[in-house]
């Protein structure tokens, strides 16, 4: 199965072209230039977009705007190319790139997105459930290296690939390709205006 995978939920937009588990190409840039990478991946692979059999997209959590660029792109591509879509958690993709590690994505406002018992959560970095020997990866782990280290965890060097949700992992984790509109973003936060309304 020829899968186009991408993730724009973090500052580094990743994309990959994967054929039956074999990574044909992989690129990274920013969310607004995602399609340049997608175009380059296909051209370098000598492939046509009509040959794509599935689109795997990162569903976050992460930057709301980045996330929406990825999902709008996936939904529109799916519509125009008639290709099914599968959503993959950005946290799961990060974890797949560093087995055993805790994925930690910067959620701004002094909080991080992470997995708690397999479910995505947003919480302050100091509240992560870490033990001595824990490894943390992701842009949140880089940003809060001091807090996490103090709690006994280790964080790979800043420039390590382990901090980037590489799209090859989205392609490998993708299951249940189906209608694009069923792939929803994982925001984990309600809009501020709703919080004000409830208060």
């Amino acid at each position: 199965m020829l899968i186009l995978a991408f993730d724009t939920a973090t500052d580094v937009a990743t994309s990959a072209l994967v054929w039956d588990g074999e990574v044909l190409g992989e690129l990274r840039s920013r969310a607004v230039t995602l399609l340049e990478d997608v175009d380059a991946l296909l051209r370098r692979g000598g492939l046509r977009d009509s040959q794509l059999e599935g689109i795997a997209v990162g569903t976050g959590p992460g930057s709301f705007t980045g996330l929406r660029i990825g999902l709008a792109t996936a939904r529109a591509l799916s519509f125009a190319l008639d290709a099914p879509v599968a959503g993959v958690s950005t946290l799961d993709a990060l974890a797949a790139g560093a087995p055993g590690a805790t994925p930690v994505i910067d959620a701004r406002r002094r909080e991080v997105f992470t997995l708690v018992d397999g479910d995505p959560r947003v919480l302050p970095p100091a509240e992560l459930d870490l033990v001595a020997g824990s490894v943390c990866v992701g842009d949140g782990a880089v940003r809060y290296r001091d807090v996490l280290s103090a709690a006994g965890a280790s964080v790979p060097p800043d420039e390590s690939d382990a901090h980037v949700p590489l799209a090859r992992f989205h392609a490998l984790l993708a299951r249940d390709f189906g209608p694009a509109e069923q792939v929803e973003p994982v925001y984990l936060r309600v809009p501020d205006a709703d919080r004000t309304l409830e208060a």
């Binding site: 399609l35 929406r68 509109e181």
Partner: protein
């Protein structure tokens, strides 16, 4: 055929327009009800909704036009100005569709889009003319000498006219969007009941903040029971002041540029008093006043298409 997308504020819209300006479909999914509870457009709420609606409106436009993507020779999209997070959703979807079909993308300026709402259909307007663009986000006087280009003669120094309507409506305890609410209530009120000031600025610029403050003080000074009773008079007088400012400036602009024609576009062009106060003016059709994608497709007919693959990295602007 041109497929156009518009997501700059709180309307998710798609349209199909032929190369000679015939509107084959003009689908607008308004979020007004969604934002009414906040009393205004909330960018994050708007963006979440745009993502849900952006492909469905395209699908609906194609269905209405009885067309398919294969009939589309260009994709047009609003690049700005507007809410950046909202614009990026339309832009991402437009780029993806254009790329999948390998057709050119035409990035359109939202304001040029409003002006281009005059270039559609049977009685398309021919420049030169002076254009008053009044909406929730903008109040501009434009000197239009050719399609696809315009020179700004004047703009608002503070609130946009539509914003002034919204804020006034809130002060009067009316719903959102405020323009329609004030327009409706004003019909049963006396426009001369209260003398609200029209800002006297040199040149062709606008200012509505003084007017808004005047309304606030008037509302505050009235006892609750009298406020209830005179709400329609307040709405009518407030509306009269906004319309007077718009009309005076539009006339002055026409005089200055020696233009024979004044045209009015944008959401405020739907206001009934404004439509009545400018006899002889060309008014955008009602369904093309508020944000829509047909006007974006119309503007795309006079804008430079960006060929594949040059548009793939295109960014929006606020």
């Amino acid at each position: 055929m041109i497929l156009a997308l518009e997501t700059s504020c709180d309307e998710t819209a798609a349209a199909l327009v032929t190369d000679d300006g015939a509107v084959r479909a003009n689908v607008v999914s308004s979020q007004a009800d969604l934002h009414a509870r906040y009393g205004g457009v909330v960018p994050e709420v708007a963006s979440r909704r745009h993502l849900e609606l952006v492909v469905p409106v395209v699908r609906e436009a194609l269905r209405e036009a009885n067309a398919e993507l294969g009939d589309v020779s260009r994709v047009a999209v609003t690049r700005g100005p507007g809410l950046i997070g909202a614009l990026l959703i339309g832009l991402a979807a437009a780029k993806a569709v254009a790329w999948a079909r390998r057709v050119p993308l035409v990035p359109v300026d939202h304001l040029q889009g409003h002006v281009a709402s005059l270039y559609l259909g049977e009685d398309a307007l021919e420049p030169p003319f002076v254009c008053l663009l009044a909406s929730g986000g903008h109040t501009l006087l434009l000197d239009v000498r050719e399609r696809g280009a315009a020179t700004v003669l004047g703009t608002t120094l503070d609130d946009a006219a539509g914003e002034a309507f919204d804020k006034g409506a809130r002060l009067l305890g009316l719903g959102y969007p405020g323009g329609a609410a004030i327009d409706a209530l004003a019909r049963s009120g006396d426009p001369d009941a209260f003398a609200f000031p029209v800002a006297r600025l040199p040149g062709l610029d606008f200012s509505f903040s003084g007017l808004k403050t005047a309304l606030l003080y008037t509302v505050r000074a009235l006892p609750q029971e009298e406020l209830e009773r005179r709400r329609a008079d307040l709405a009518a007088s407030y509306q009269r002041a906004i319309v007077r400012a718009l009309v005076e400036r539009a006339r002055a602009a026409a005089e200055r540029t020696r233009a024979d024609t004044v045209a009015v576009v944008g959401g405020v062009a739907a206001n009934s008093e404004l439509r009545g106060a400018l006899p002889g003016a060309v008014l955008a059709p009602l369904d093309l006043c508020t944000d829509n994608a047909a006007m974006i497709a119309s503007a795309a007919r006079y804008a430079e298409p960006v060929p594949y693959p040059d548009y793939l990295g295109l960014d929006a602007y606020a």
